[in-house]
C-alpha cells in the first residue's frame, strides 16, 4: 500500500478534485504553518496566510511543474505570501516572540546561564536571528531542503545559500557568546 504522491494529488486538484485538496492540506498544513509563523511571528497572521497559500494551490494547481518537489512549491508560495505581508507591516511592529528573545538576551551572561539550560539559550538565540538567517536555518535543519531547493525557493545562487547559512550560524554563535555560551567557533 502506497500513499498517493503529492504530484498526483496536485494533478487531481487541477481537475477540480476537492478530496485531493483535503489530503494535500492534511499532509502539509502544519509544516507550512510553522514556516510562515517563524517568518511573521504572529499566529493569527500565519493562520490567515496559510489559508491564502492553499487557496492559491487550488487556483494554480494546473500550473504546477513536477520538476520541483511539491513541498518546495508550497513553501515558495508561503514564503511569497509571508514576505508580501511583512512588506506591508510597519517595521516598528516587532513580534512578541522576537522581542522576548532579545529582552532575555540582555540579561547579564552569568544570570542567563544560571537560569536557563544551554538548549533553551540556543532556542532563544535562534529566535533572535534576523529574518533571512532564521529562514535559512529553518529550511535546512527543519524543512530538510537541499542547497538547490533553497536556492530555487529563496531566489539566490547555490554558493550564496552556503554562504548565508555559514553567516547565519556565525551570528548564532555570536549571540550565544553574548549570552554566556562560548562554543569556540568561529
Amino acid at each position: 500500500m502506497q500513499a498517493t504522491s503529492d504530484e498526483a494529488l496536485i494533478s487531481r486538484i487541477a481537475a477540480g478534485d476537492r478530496l485531493a485538496m483535503q489530503v494535500l492540506y492534511a499532509r502539509h498544513h502544519v509544516r507550512v504553518y510553522r514556516f510562515i509563523l517563524r517568518l511573521v511571528g504572529n499566529a493569527t497572521t500565519a493562520e490567515d496566510l496559510i489559508s491564502e497559500v492553499f487557496l492559491d494551490v487550488w487556483r494554480q494547481a494546473g500550473k504546477f511543474e513536477a520538476r520541483s518537489a511539491a513541498s518546495t512549491w508550497l513553501m515558495a508560495i508561503a514564503r511569497f505570501k509571508a514576505l508580501s505581508m511583512l512588506r506591508r507591516k510597519p517595521e516598528e511592529e516587532l513580534d512578541d516572540e522576537t522581542a522576548e528573545a532579545i529582552e532575555d538576551l540582555s540579561d547579564d551572561p552569568e544570570t542567563t546561564v544560571q537560569k536557563k539550560d544551554k538548549g533553551e539559550i540556543l532556542r532563544k538565540c535562534l529566535s533572535a536571528l534576523s529574518q533571512d538567517h532564521r529562514e535559512i536555518i529553518d529550511l535546512v535543519y527543519y524543512h530538510e531542503k537541499t542547497v538547490e531547493e533553497v536556492a530555487e525557493m529563496v531566489g539566490i545562487p547555490e554558493a550564496t545559500v552556503k554562504t548565508r547559512m555559514f553567516y547565519a550560524r556565525k551570528k548564532l554563535s555570536e549571540l550565544l557568546k553574548a549570552a554566556g555560551v562560548d562554543r569556540g567557533w568561529p
Binding site: R18, H29, W58, A151
Partner: protein
C-alpha cells in the same frame, strides 16, 4: 604552499556542507566526502557536533509551534466551495520556477534544481521504510507509525529521532533490537519519529544518558533528543 591552500579550501568547502550532512540532504557522493573528512579531522568533527546541536534545537523550537486551528480549514474549504473548480492550466508542464519568476521578478535569477526530486524521494523512501518496520513489528494488518494505537499515555521513556537517510531497513531493525527501542509515532514534520527507549519512565539524567548512547550510532541516527 599551493597544497596547503588547496587543503584549506577543501576544508572550507566541506565545512559549508555540514548543515546539509546533519540533515541528511546531501548527495551520496558529497555525504561520503564529508564522512571521510570527519574521520580524519578532529576539529571538523567537533564543529559537526555544534551543527547537530543547532539542528536539534531548531527542530525542538519548530515542534513547539503547534498547529493552525480548524478555523483555517473551514475558511479555506468554504472559499474553495464558493469559487468552484480551479482554472484549467497547462497540466503538469508549467515550471514551478516560472511561477516563482512571476512572483519574484524583482529578485535575482535562480538556479533550477533537479536534485529536489531526488531529495523528496529519499524522504518518501525513509517514511516508507519506517512504516514497513512498524508493519512488520505489529503483524499482518497495515498500520503506519502515525496512526497506531494511542500512545500518549503509554508507560516508558521516549525520544525524538531522525534517521540517517543512508541507513537501511536492516540497519534500523538491528538498531532497535540492540537498544530494545521501538517506533511509537511519526513521521512528524521534519521526518522526526517518536520512539520508546525504555519500557518504564526514566529520570531526566537517565533519559539523557540513554539518548546519548543512541546518538553514538551516527550511521543510523541523524538527530535525537529526549521527549515526553
Amino acid at each position: 604552499m599551493m597544497m596547503s591552500r588547496n587543503k584549506a579550501t577543501e576544508r572550507e568547502d566541506i565545512e559549508a556542507l555540514l548543515p546539509w550532512h546533519a540533515a541528511g540532504t546531501l548527495s551520496r557522493r558529497d555525504a561520503e566526502r564529508v564522512e571521510q573528512a570527519l574521520a580524519q579531522d578532529a576539529e571538523l568533527a567537533r564543529r559537526f557536533e555544534l551543527v547537530r546541536e543547532e539542528m536539534a534545537e531548531t527542530i525542538h523550537l519548530n515542534e513547539t509551534l503547534g498547529a493552525p486551528s480548524t478555523r483555517v480549514a473551514q475558511k479555506l474549504f468554504a472559499a474553495i466551495d464558493a469559487e468552484g473548480e480551479p482554472k484549467k492550466g497547462r497540466g503538469m508542464s508549467f515550471q514551478a520556477s516560472a511561477w516563482l519568476a512571476g512572483l519574484f521578478e524583482q529578485l535575482s535569477p535562480r538556479t533550477l534544481a533537479w536534485s529536489a526530486a531526488a531529495a523528496g524521494l529519499a524522504i518518501v523512501l525513509q517514511a516508507g521504510l519506517l512504516a514497513g518496520l512498524v508493519l512488520s513489528e505489529r503483524g499482518a494488518s497495515y498500520q503506519t507509525a502515525s496512526f497506531g494505537e494511542p500512545t500518549a499515555a503509554a508507560p516508558g521513556a521516549f525520544a525524538l529521532v531522525r534517521f540517517n537517510p543512508a541507513a537501511t531497513a536492516g540497519d534500523i531493525t538491528k538498531f532497535f533490537d540492540a537498544h530494545k527501542a521501538s517506533v511509537v509515532e511519526g513521521p512528524r514534520p521534519g521526518g522526526v519519529y517518536r520512539i520508546r527507549v525504555a519500557a518504564t519512565s526514566l529520570s531526566q539524567d537517565e533519559l539523557a544518558r540513554a539518548v546519548a548512547r543512541l546518538a553514538e550510532d551516527k550511521n543510523i541516527v541523524a538527530f535525537i533528543a529526549p521527549a515526553k
